[in-house]
């Protein structure tokens, strides 16, 4: 069985949980007390990932760190339809990859602001917020023009891809870092669409599309 080294309040870990849930893949959650225990800095976890970063996914002999890499692996391995990580069209494959890179930027900005405000991490929250707003502005404009072309998702195509999963958590959790989404209406509509993907699951800080569902 797949094992996920996981922290409940981590948006990066949530990406892996979200795709695994959508694809209906069973896995074992191994809670690593990132906060308040800071167990990711202790030898036991450093033996799993010397970088001390969550999540880490183990599947058989494979051990994989970095949330975007985990999404790519899970999609290639467990999505027989191939639509979550489309490779047929070079143009689409490139754009999916571009948004996976964009997600790294969200981790460096929106996630950093959240860790500073919520968990007392010693980051420059103002700089992180400014950075996040620049990314959100680009994303909102992109999604607005996607909508004008009848496109619901970050990458072209009728179905969502790992790009949407990778960008969703730290956009949705941005208010915890003091980043309002009131000037990003196309982003807000996109987050509603992500919540309606069959198999969608929540994490603390994110509510479901249907009230009181789990």
């Amino acid at each position: 069985m797949i094992r996920l080294y996981d922290f409940d309040l981590s948006g990066n870990c949530y990406k892996a949980r979200l795709l695994l849930a959508i694809l209906g893949v069973e896995y074992e959650r191994r809670n690593v007390d990132f906060f308040p225990g800071l167990k990711h800095r202790e030898p036991e976890f450093l033996a799993v990932n010397p970088l001390g970063q969550l999540p880490v996914l183990e599947d058989g002999d494979l051990r994989l760190a970095q949330s975007q890499a985990i999404l790519v692996y899970v999609a290639r391995k467990y999505d027989p339809s191939g639509r979550w990580y489309p490779l047929d069209s070079p143009e689409i494959a490139g754009q999916v990859q571009q948004w996976l890179g964009f997600a790294e930027g969200l981790t460096a900005t929106a996630s950093a602001a959240r860790l500073a405000d919520g968990m007392g991490f010693d980051f420059d929250a103002e700089a992180a917020r400014d950075g996040a707003h620049k990314l959100f502005a680009v994303m909102d404009e992109h999604l607005w023009f996607q909508e004008r072309q009848g496109q619901d998702w970050l990458a072209p195509g009728a179905a969502p891809t790992v790009a949407d999963i990778a960008c969703f958590p730290y956009v949705m959790l941005s208010e915890e870092g003091g980043i309002s989404r009131e000037t990003y209406p196309a982003i807000r509509r996109w987050t509603d669409r992500v919540k309606r993907i069959p198999g969608f699951v929540v994490m603390p800080g994110i509510f479901p599309a249907v009230l009181g569902s789990q």
Partner: protein, 284 residues
């Protein structure tokens, strides 16, 4: 808008500023009532210094480091259960929230949101009813106590798979701290204690320090803190989407229902103690 000065009632309180487990030799910074503080540990215990470098009074109690910017009349409110030898006392995490500490306390006192915010854990649709309960002032008016609070909880204990009403008792012995008692899944005759100690960093922000004193010899500390953080993480987006961010004390600012008896008393109690910090006082 300049940050307001604390009113005397707030100024002369002890406030938590860190879990004791997070106090180390290396000094750390935090904020209390708008004032930047530094805290650290040396050979003789925990130390706190104020903005001007002066040493502030210190208490090490209930798994937290407490200090004050004023002159409190005595020590902290009692939590007798904390000293019972068979209990585990756990600091389950400290989380910053961008809303007034009083909004945070009021949410802690609220049961009606369980099925909507803590779905599947503390409540579940369609079981939404908040039944009649009692609330009163005790200890000569120094403390609010709500008793006989019942709410439907799915999988009411670790051994049951079906839902049932769970009983809660809430205490508010401090303007930004509340202590909750809940029947223990391990020993039905005794109660687990879950406390939320609010550190008002500013009038519209606080850090919530969660401390538990529970009867549980099965689960590891990190599982217990995982559970508390999960619950608090679910409350956070609600709290940070409340407007205004300060708790309004004007009875006509919001619409109370019978389920809100405790929070109505809490708002009146804050008003009668002359609290102006973190709240919007009712117009005279």
């Amino acid at each position: 808008m300049a940050d307001p000065l604390p009113d005397p009632f707030m100024l002369n309180q002890w406030f938590p500023i860190s879990a004791l487990q997070d106090v180390h030799d290396r000094p750390r910074r935090t904020t209390l009532l708008g004032e930047p503080l530094v805290y650290f540990r040396d050979g003789s215990g925990c130390r706190v210094t104020g903005a001007d470098g002066r040493a502030l009074p210190v208490l090490e109690q209930y798994a937290c480091l407490w200090t004050t910017l004023g002159r409190p009349e005595g020590g902290l409110f009692p939590i007798p259960e904390y000293d019972e030898p068979d209990r585990r006392n756990i600091a389950a995490g400290s989380i910053g929230v961008n809303v007034s500490a009083m909004r945070g306390i009021e949410n802690f006192l609220d049961m009606g949101h369980f099925p909507y915010v803590h779905t599947g854990i503390l409540g579940e649709l369609p079981h939404t009813e908040v039944k009649e309960y009692n609330v009163e002032l005790r200890e000569g008016g120094r403390e609010i106590v709500a008793t006989e609070c019942l709410f439907y909880q799915p999988r009411a204990s670790t051994v049951s798979t079906s839902g049932a009403d769970v009983e809660y008792v809430y205490r508010v012995p401090h303007p930004t701290c509340s202590v909750l008692y809940k029947s223990s899944p391990m020993d039905t005759r005794r109660l687990d204690v879950i406390a939320l100690f609010g550190q008002p960093t500013g009038p519209e922000s606080f850090r919530g320090h969660m401390v538990l004193s529970i009867l549980d010899d099965v689960n590891a500390d990190d599982f217990i803190s995982y559970f508390q953080l999960h619950i608090f993480g679910q409350d956070k987006p609600i709290l940070e989407n409340q407007m205004p961010k300060r708790l309004p004390l004007d009875p006509r600012a919001e619409t109370p229902i019978r389920a809100d008896k405790t929070s109505i008393m809490y708002r009146r109690w804050l008003a009668s103690n002359g609290v102006t910090y973190g709240v919007i006082p009712a117009a005279a």
